[in-house]
Amino acid sequence: MITFSNVSLIYPNAQRTIVEDITFTVNEGELLLLIGHTGAGKSSLLKLINGLIPHHTGGILTGEISVDGRSTRALRPGELADVVGIVGQNPINGFVSDVVEDEIAFGLESLGIAPEIMRKRVEEVLDLLALAPLRRRNISELSGGEQQRVAIAAALVTNPKVLLLDEPTSALDPIAAEEVLSILHRLVHDLGLTVILAEHRLERVIGFVDRIILIHGDGSMDLGPARQILNDSSIAPPLVELARKLKLGDIPLSIREFRKNAPQIKESEVEPVRKAKGAAILKIDSVSASYDEGRKVHALDGVSLEINGGEIVALMGRNGAGKTTLLRCAVGTAPLIKGEVRVKERDPEALTDKELIEFVGYIPQDAGDLLYGQSIEDECDLADSDNGVESGATLSIYQELMKIPGLNSHPRDISEGQRLGLALSIILAAQPSLVILDEPTRGLDYEAKKVLIKNLKSIASDTNRAVFISTHDVELVAEVADRVIFLSDGQVIADGSRQEVLKASPAFAPQVSKALPNNTWLCLSDVERFLNAKN
């Protein structure tokens, strides 16, 4: 279906080639996973397939790429629209209508499909992606997960032979992600659709895929069956790492495979790590708030909670449950209807700008909002002076966090994950008492995630500081959180230790806990502690 022969791509003035002399073939009806470090060129490879690169973005391409027998060099992406559907990383930027139904119909209108057939196709896709109840809704009012489903529906409606998806589940809660992936799985099996998927959270997709492309970031790549690639890849989901730790011979790709030949491990009492708790840092007292100024809809409905020093608290819940609004309360940017918010006994709205950055470091969902420098280096210097820290502090955190730095790049040109790393470095350098992160693992690879986890834990080792994260990433929660708060429809429905909350529902259970259901472990570091204690 897709063939690459001796393809190289380089951007003018770039220091490295994105891909160099790669050759491979993707068969019809294959589900292919694209992995690689943050910024390695996964998105570029996807755009090569539908011709957006080089036709739309520029870049020097050599070699030959053909999709369904058509060469992407000769045809512009528009002429491939009936064969290839693509869903970008930020679907919101690519929407061309305001209403769900119209957005989905757009591709059909362009292809000139007759109205009667169009109507039928739209209905089918609405049903396929469970969007029928939302058909007349305004897209900008939908939650991230719903928008993602609309984008997939809009790409699928034309019945393409190839579907390209750039991190389709990174913004989704575990249940919505499961839905999207099982839909893809069904499309591959029922319709013979060829799907190529770039994804960082391998634990969600690994069970579905046929083969994996691993992009190394130096221009080379490997393509092979999932088991073979994961065998010696540094990018591996928790399940694979667990198997490595327990020295199981074969790499398991699903929980079922793992359990089949998993050793029974007798868990001896390992002293749980006791953590000292400090005074309350964030107090939220029966707060109700709305999404936007002037909107009557309540995003939060009588929420009360307290976060103490030395704690890492994770906020979970479905898309649109009010998580972001709750986080915004802590910096005083959410429109409160009633209730009271106190950060270290002070009202965040009344803090001066200087006090605010000392009290709270907040990374919004779109981390790019925080950035205004002209290069990564420039941005770090600006941050040093904004935060009043010694020069170079931000840069050194950034270099520790990110694998591929490229310090001269413009913050808009780097990948989503790198942007997040940059914003994170800026916030960490200011050393605020409360660090708030909204979806911090979007687009982050496993290694960057490990560094993030290390940093968050070191913050919380100080009893005067705390971390508050909103995330869909259960593996992250299992690793770092002391407490988990579960939000649903603007109300707190669970607030307890990660053990209680994560073990309670199968959808939110991390892989380690699913793989070893008879043990109390939730994450790799739990297992590691046990193994170390045993030896």
Binding site: V84, N90, G107, L111, R119, P364
Partner: protein, 276 residues
């Protein structure tokens, strides 16, 4: 057929409305009419208030209009050629090198000079407000669907141009909020770097993304595009467009009409579509 949205006008309506009023303004060339048209535009937008992001951009248009007014007046007072009339006040004259023959900086400010500057400033305000109103009242995405698809580049350019202002108004709010998180309040000219540049960059990025999305969905590549939910130019639109057209006829045929009466008639002509 899918349900046609009956609540709003055809996507092209407000642009045709704006063009008609533009002709009125240029033909009439009267300060009173500029003023009544500006007033009408503001009243109309308030009347059709909605919670959409393209509506929100009107606030920024008001600021732009105010800025244009102040700038035009200031230039009118400081720079210009000598004009007859009563001398109101005198500002010190700066002698320019011979290169700028005929241009004067400072000097006597006469009533004539002031009123010319005022007339032109009002015309500028009216033009800005009329097009801002069209921008605030029509949905840029819908515009994309009614433009002929064969001319891909034209459609794309129009949509990007008409969606930049409203989208930017939204970005400004967000980036400003984020700027506080970096410990910098942004006010005044200093905020241009902190807020202006990210907003411009973001709108550029969004435009590129939108263009990529249109391109990869085949916009403009296939010869006979079809319509899922056609926009129909109904009698309602014709009726609503009739009022500014009548306004134009008044201006053309009844030059003898008293200025105040004509201005009142035009005010009504501008606002009427808001009630249809």
């Amino acid at each position: 057929m899918p349900k046609v949205d009956t609540g709003s006008f055809h996507p092209l309506f407000w642009w045709l409305w704006a063009l008609t009023i533009l002709v009125i303004l240029l033909v009439a060339d009267s300060t009173l009419i500029s003023f009544s048209v500006s007033l009408g535009a503001v009243a109309l937008v308030l009347l059709k208030r909605s919670n959409t992001y393209w509506y929100q951009s009107f606030r920024w248009a008001l600021r732009l209009a105010a800025l244009a007014f102040v700038l035009r007046m200031a230039i009118g007072v400081v720079i210009g050629v000598p004009m007859p009339g009563q001398v109101l006040f005198t500002i010190p004259r700066i002698t320019l090198p011979d290169l700028f023959v005929g241009v004067r900086l400072g000097g006597e400010v006469t009533s004539q000079r002031l009123s010319t500057a005022f007339d032109e400033a009002m015309l500028l305000v009216a033009l800005i407000l009329i097009f801002a109103a069209a921008n605030a009242l029509s949905n840029p995405h819908e515009l994309l669907r009614v433009l002929p698809r064969r001319y891909y580049a034209i459609g794309l350019a129009t949509v990007i141009a008409s969606s930049v202002a409203p989208q930017s108004a939204r970005s400004i709010q967000r980036v400003r909020a984020a700027r506080r998180l970096r410990g910098k309040k942004s006010t005044g000219i200093a905020s241009f770097r902190n807020v202006g540049i990210p907003v411009l960059e973001e709108s550029l990025e969004r435009s590129i993304d939108l263009a990529a999305s249109l391109e990869s969905r085949g916009y403009g590549y296939f010869p006979n595009p079809s319509r899922y939910r056609p926009h129909i130019w109904r009698f309602r639109e014709t009726l609503a467009l009739a009022s500014p057209v009548y306004g134009l006829i008044f201006v053309l045929l009844l030059p003898a009409l008293s200025g105040v009466l004509l201005a009142c008639l035009l005010l009504i002509a501008v606002i009427t579509p808001g009630f249809i």
